[in-house]
Symmetry: C2
Subunit: 112 residues, 2 copies
DNA sequence: TTTTATGCATAATTTTCTTATGTATACAAA
DNA sequence: TTTGTATACATAAGAAAATTATGCATAAAA
């Protein structure tokens, strides 16, 4: 099993969290920030990132502004009002998920 | 996004952990234990469980003993020696994964 | 001038799961 | 008595979510 396969299914809430914390980000920036935060453990691939961002835009979760940085384009994403609501829900789910994982990976001994 | 999609990619290490803690288990028992531990949050489907157990057996990670309980069959799984090694590695990866998730979902404020 | 980094995008494929279906035993409820 | 629920296995078809590969383009470093 590939190490990073653990992250399968977590990409969307991770991106939502990044946008919630940082307000406005472009795709490449997200990949770099996650790489830094996870000390190189999670490298978001473009093939996963961009289609997901496009889907979130279609769903009205994020909105975009395209800007030029020198001669290079950057497409900035930020949460919509609906997106902020959805992010709050997603964070609750993440908490529950992480707690369940804790229970499984670090089970409390049954005190007899 | 479906709630349980967060668990994508985590099933294998979860099963390894169960076997590490409980020594010898049959498939249905695993589903029930996980359901209990996660307070109903994670319901492992048979379509995910059994093919994965079969794969682990092929790979020599687990070995099986089939027993009759009354008139009903139970196929007990336990970790092989190689499986125990792999489980140790998988648990290390899980720890790193969970810590990274913590960093993302609960970022430490930068103290200026 | 060739590699590495930045920055976007998409198609083909693979991995991993859900849903649906099948077989069979046991027990409780209607 | 037959209908639903629980136990217990198994597999096939399909969907979801990623990886890998490819493409375009600018910029800087080796």
């Amino acid at each position: 099993m590939k190490k990073s396969s653990l992250y399968k299914g977590c990409l969307e809430p991770i991106l939502l969290r990044l946008l919630k914390d940082n307000g406005r980000m472009y795709g490449y920036q997200m990949t770099q920030m996650v790489k830094e935060i996870t000390k190189g453990e999670l490298n978001i691939t473009e093939g996963a990132l961009y289609p997901l961002l496009h889907k979130l835009e279609e769903q009205g979760v994020v909105e975009t502004e395209t800007e030029m940085n020198g001669n290079r384009m950057r497409k900035y994403y930020s949460l919509t009002k609906a997106g902020k609501k959805q992010t709050a829900l997603a964070m609750d789910e993440m908490k529950a998920f992480m707690q369940s994982l804790e229970f499984i990976v670090n089970p409390k001994p049954v005190v007899g």
